[in-house]
């Protein structure tokens, strides 16, 4: 069923009794051309674009739990492309362009809201760094605006401009950045893929990757063996575990990233703001809750929950940036399992095993890349060659030295 004003009116008049499930809860077949492991945002987007852009539909997406149960439902919903290195910005800008027409493309309301992402700076050195970043963004076809203190004040008069230690000097604004309704992204891609013949299979955990003579032949799952011509892994924080089933060791550690929501408030923050003197970022959801977060906890974790020191650190950042936040009560917080790569950038590439492809290493920034990641991974799976927007995201870049170290931190995944 195509969603439109007509379908809404028709359903309203018939008491909303005719809505159908949005995707088929498929049972696994014996064989597929392509099996995608991981029914999160990236896996579902990959299947969607494989079907829509590359005309393939003998595809299964295998999810060990229910779709969208992982990071696509656990993030802070921000989209942006304010990166520095060309190898990264090409992908994120490609992704942002896909976000801009996504709802029309997959006929689903994902509440894409380009409300602007503002990165504040608090020193001359930081201003220079952001000016450089803004120039890199412009050179790569993204949008960027350097605001001075008055420019920021017009947008956000309630910020703590004259804090003794970190006065706000200005900010780098990307107006095309914003937020998206994250669950709807998973649902929209699942619906679009399912409509085009993709089997979205839930409660189906991959327990083995079958390899014969250096070539993938299929996967073993909790619901039986499935033969496959190609297998694509898009399992975020579980990447190391799943890749180990094929005997691969990855340049990735799994860490925990926490996010927080306050009680619902009247509209106060129109866009997304990041604090430049600590790690804190905040936006307000359409329901009114302040959605905010900061650093990863900083140690390996598969627990999907964090510890108190980071809660304290994030709240301190919030108080330093906008003291009025201290009046709001925190409603809930949660942790997600993030795949921190050794240089802070993702990997979308073939592996040494024929027919096995990897999409991993998203660190804590995978959500904004969802459509772009799906599109370029679909291209790689369909054509066996990298998409022009993802040529730098190679698996072997750590061996060759062509790393994409956006933060300049070296091989320290807990610092990226």
């Amino acid at each position: 069923m195509r969603y439109s004003l007509t379908s809404l009116i028709t359903q309203t008049l018939s008491g909303h009794k005719g809505w159908k499930p949005q995707w088929r809860d498929a049972a696994p077949k014996d064989e597929y051309d392509i099996v995608i492991v991981g029914g999160g945002g990236h896996g579902l987007a990959t299947a969607y674009y494989l079907a829509k852009e590359y005309g393939l539909n003998n595809i299964a997406v295998l999810e060990k739990s229910w779709i969208g149960s992982g990071n696509v439902g656990r993030n802070t919903t921000i989209i942006r492309s304010n990166y520095l290195l060309s190898g990264n910005i090409a992908l994120y800008e490609f992704s942002l362009k896909l976000w801009e027409r996504l709802e029309q493309d997959f006929n689903y309301n994902a509440m894409v809201s380009q409300r602007g992402v503002l990165n504040l700076f608090h020193s001359d050195g930081q201003r220079d760094a952001y000016a450089r970043r803004g120039n890199m963004m412009l050179l790569n076809g993204a949008d960027a605006e350097l605001l001075d203190r008055d420019g920021v004040k017009k947008l956000y008069p309630f910020l703590n401009f004259d804090a003794a230690r970190f006065p706000i000097q200005g900010g780098l604004l990307q107006r095309r950045g914003g937020t998206v309704r994250h669950d709807a992204v998973a649902w929209g891609f699942a619906r679009g893929a399912s409509e085009r013949g993709v089997d979205v299979i839930q409660n189906c955990e991959v327990t083995g990757i079958d390899i014969v003579g250096g070539r993938v032949t299929g996967v073993t799952t909790t619901r039986g063996k499935i033969r496959a011509g190609k297998v694509g892994l898009a399992v975020a924080g579980s990447s190391s575990r799943v890749a180990a089933l094929a005997g691969l060791r990855l340049p990735i550690e799994s860490h925990v990233l926490q996010a927080f929501v306050s009680e619902g408030l009247k509209p106060v923050i129109p866009g997304v703001i990041t604090f430049g003197a600590g790690h804190f970022y905040i936006s307000q959801s359409d329901k009114g809750g302040l959605v905010f977060g900061g650093d990863i906890d900083g140690y390996n974790s598969y627990a999907q929950r964090g510890n108190m020191p980071v809660v304290e650190d994030v709240c301190e950042g919030g108080m330093a940036l906008m003291p009025s936040i201290g009046r709001a009560r925190m409603l809930r917080n949660w942790g997600g399992l993030v795949d921190m790569s050794m240089d802070g950038s993702p990997i979308i590439d073939r592996t040494d095993i024929d027919g096995l492809y990897l999409n991993a290493g998203w660190c804590y920034g995978g959500f904004k890349a969802t459509p772009g990641s799906g599109f370029v991974f679909a291209h790689l799976l369909a054509k066996d060659a990298p998409h022009p927007a993802a040529t730098a995201l190679r698996f072997d870049r750590f061996r060759t030295g062509a790393i994409l170290d956006e933060k300049g931190q070296g091989a320290q995944p807990n610092l990226h």
Binding site: S240, R241, R249, E253, S254, R399, Q412, P413, N414
Partner: protein, 84 residues
């Protein structure tokens, strides 16, 4: 989390800096295995051994045994004892 520092006793996690996987062995310079040592990790679930530095305490390097799936800390010992 609290780490039982052998020198200082149980101390809060905020006193420590994390350095990661303690199961790796540094290869000889120029060895082809250097790439694996610097970049590749087993990244296991369950009990893992890792290096923590008591930066706001006795400045000792510790080898901590910790369950990364539950955050339970099983034990900690001086890293140099293990190395010697």
């Amino acid at each position: 989390m609290r780490i039982p520092c052998p020198f200082c006793g149980p101390r809060d996690i905020t006193e420590f800096a994390y350095h990661g996987d303690a199961t790796l062995t540094r290869p000889a310079p120029g060895d082809a295995a250097m790439h694996d040592y610097v970049y590749l990790r087993d990244n296991p679930t369950g009990v893992h051994r890792e290096h923590w530095y008591h930066s706001a305490g006795c400045h000792a390097w510790l080898t901590v045994t910790r369950n990364v799936s539950t955050h339970e800390i099983v034990g900690a010992e001086m890293a140099h004892k293990e190395a010697s």
